[in-house]
Symmetry: C2
Subunit: 473 residues, 2 copies
């Protein structure tokens, strides 16, 4: 399950994998005692049409966040149609028609939300697509009505289709093509997921984006947008029973539909090491990355919980092993972090990102990272490290609970990628019982530098154009 | 167009890309004068059902080679069904039924060919699938009848399907999984063709081979095996008019069918360098490879002809620039070659394969290769080099003409990947007019070591397990 990451729902569309969601947690969190209480005390209800409604009450402010999460993302796209899931997410703001739930002109959805003092947006990942509004509590029925209306009622003027295609092309240019760090991430992901749809970027390849047609978008929409393929989450100043009643009156009108079974191709075994080198004139300082392919929560719950704790110990902030050893003691890097993302339908990733002090220190940095990993594989961790880390992670969870939009995000991306509500609610207790032995075993299985190819990973070298790291040709 | 490579049609199925076809040309060829004659003087005829029949008469021996080339290969497979094109090729030996052309039991096709003193086999590539028999001339009608019968009449006992699946699994094990050189080639091709079906090996990924079903094979067969999607080539001791008559009586019975348009996904632009490192305990000497992605004949005829000449000058045998510089003079490698394959429906490849004298000389070897390429980019080639190379290549063509099965192979893989018959016939003349300027320009465009990313390439390092080339992590 994904660690509780707090999120400020931003005005710009959040795009890419879950890793793109800005984490603002650890630093602000205070340590708290372990507890057997549920984190969110969420209430869940299933409509007859298969739509799950989850409510987290929080009466600190007179506002709510309303989100709908669809179990469809970029990794469900047909071959050659990359970007269609994200494009469709944009198109859903461009007009809808429904004889009971009402009609909306292009742009009218967001205009109404803003006129009521709220804000709305959406984001797409490999595994899900989500739409949300943050608004005063009394407008919940209004936004639910509009959101239900666009679940099956998309109706877009063709002119909007063409102009929005230009918008997403520009989005790709700005976010990826003009950002060598994003390019590097894209190239590494491609290499890390051969024969698997995660190899294709969420926003799509430019040449495929340009060739998308309205029929592609409509077909994708008709296949996947259905109540039985979605989860609605409402957090904030509401009574859960009222939310269920409103949901029945709005979403309840929409009929269940047959949605495709997720049939994704899988990667062959890894038998070689791949590295990617990208030189760019806008890069002044080199960057080194290593991304491992590891189990997601859905694939292996226990390994995933253990990896969450292990990731925090190795690379979570300035008290982590990697930071202390490589930045403070050995001065090989000016920054280094390691993070693990548990929320994926298929394999997850664990990423090391470092800023070497200079290009000629990259080899030494790689060796030093391996040395730190080897230490854990051989000697394990200390009781003190384990306790400190878990206490801090539990504190983050408590902090997440008190945020307004945080609970909807945390519950959303975990539920939609296969966690149960109970697993989310009791995450602090489950994290607490992770043992030193489990951590050492997981490090042996997934991060052992002396087992080449057993753990698939890809390395990336982002270099200034002037300096060639001679040995990485 | 693909250089004239002579081939001994072997008993084992020829699998993989066209590169797998053994070349036995250059050494045996004698230089001959340029000529305006056609190389093969082939005769072509189109049946009403769209099947093209090409005949090359050669009366030196009382035998013929009969081949049928289908315009379908591994790159046309549905996603997740890798290996189905090759599997189907195997299955076509496992039984057929046709009310006019006759029925055959599993294995009976080959048994009949052998009982008549001939041999038969088949091979699959990314772009085509071909079946052939070499046999006494008088049996042409018999093999044409059988070959026509299996074009639409596949009829296989389910038990054969299961056992043949085991056979192709074993084939993958022997040819790829137990051969680190083949593994390396597979990994590099995967990296060189992101988002393109050439990234997937012709034989398929093992886990996908194991999951193939009869319905997959039958659907693929029904879609692609049709007279209008094939070319028949007969070379040897025949009169072309008789061949056309026999073809009408046999293949002419089969109805035209709607075959799918080839719609292949394409790669995004290359913006980074990828390298693949594979260590294996069976490797005693390191190997270095670099594979470029360049135009095929179908994509750019002039560039392709020029690349053929250039490839021969840089890396064709022991008189080539690379061999002389790196093996003889600098002693950095014990062997090095560069080859270009022009016959592909989409992008082609140009490959350098070298055996460095030791692991610690790989960096120097890479730099020395770049230095040789830079020399051609800056200074071009000499008149002498150009003339010698073209004369030798023309000699190969004459030699190919006099072989028995060679003409059918050369015409087959060039026609099926988009060349015209005239382009094949006048290849020696077209090669002769390639200029020094064209060669220098092509080297600038495709092999310039000082234009990073402009020419996509992938490097591979095959290393002994004991020695880590420390800087290629």
């Amino acid at each position: 399950m994904q660690k509780f990451i707090l999120t400020t729902l931003s005005a710009g569309a959040i795009l890419g994998t879950i890793l793109c969601i800005p984490a603002i947690s650890t630093a602000q969190a205070k340590a708290t005692k372990s507890t057997v209480e549920k984190v969110f005390n969420a209430k869940s209800y299933m409509l007859d049409n298969g739509l799950q409604i989850v409510v987290v009450e929080n009466h600190r402010a007179p506002v709510i966040t309303h989100m709908i999460w669809y179990r469809v993302g970029a990794a469900d796209e047909p071959r050659g149609k990359s970007g269609i899931a994200h494009f469709l997410e944009h198109l859903l703001f461009k007009g809808q028609k429904h004889k009971i739930l009402g009609d909306l002109e292009p742009g009218e959805f967001s205009k109404i939300v803003r006129s009521l003092g709220g804000e709305d947006n959406a984001f797409t990942s490999q595994d899900y697509t989500a739409y949300y509004q943050s608004i005063s509590s009394e407008h919940l029925e209004k936004v639910m009505t509009m959101e239900a209306g666009r679940m099956r009622g998309i109706d877009i003027p063709l002119s909007e289709f063409a102009s929005e295609n230009k918008v997403i092309q520009e989005e790709r240019r700005q976010r990826t093509d003009n950002d060598p760090r994003a390019q590097m991430a894209e190239q590494m992901t491609e290499a890390l997921f051969p024969n698997h749809p995660y190899s294709i970027p969420v926003i799509g390849w430019m040449h495929e984006i340009q060739a998308l047609e309205w029929a592609d978008a409509k077909k994708f929409y008709d296949q996947y947008y259905a109540p039985n393929n979605a989860i609605v989450i409402v957090s904030g100043n509401v009574k859960y029973k009222e939310v269920f009643e409103i949901a029945k009156r709005t979403y309840g009108i929409i009929k269940r539909a047959d949605t495709p079974v997720r049939a994704r191709t899988t990667s062959p075994p890894f038998i070689s090491k791949t590295s990617v080198t990208l030189q760019h004139d806008s890069i002044k300082e080199p960057q080194f990355r290593r991304t491992y392919r590891v189990p997601s929560y859905r694939q292996d719950a226990q390994a995933s919980l253990t990896l969450e704790v292990l990731a925090d110990i190795i690379g979570g902030g300035s008290t982590s092993r990697l930071y202390k050893a490589l930045v403070i003691d050995q001065k090989l890097a000016t920054n280094i972090s390691l993070s693990y993302n548990s929320a994926a339908w298929n394999d997850s990733t664990l990423s090391i990102i470092a800023t070497p002090v200079s290009v000629d220190k990259i080899d030494a940095l790689q060796n030093a990272i391996d040395a730190q990993l080897r230490k854990i594989v051989i000697d394990g961790i200390t009781d003190q490290e384990l306790n400190d880390t878990i206490t801090r992670m539990q504190g983050d969870a408590i902090y997440a609970r008190d945020s307004l939009s945080g609970p909807a995000m945390v519950i959303g991306y975990n539920l939609i990628t296969g966690a149960t509500l109970d697993a989310i609610e009791y995450w602090p207790q489950r994290i607490r019982i992770v043992t030193k032995e489990q951590i050492q075993n997981v490090s042996k299985t997934y991060l052992n530098p002396d087992q080449p190819y057993k753990t698939p990973y890809v390395e990336g070298f982002l270099l200034p154009i002037s300096e060639d790291k001679g040995d990485v040709k």
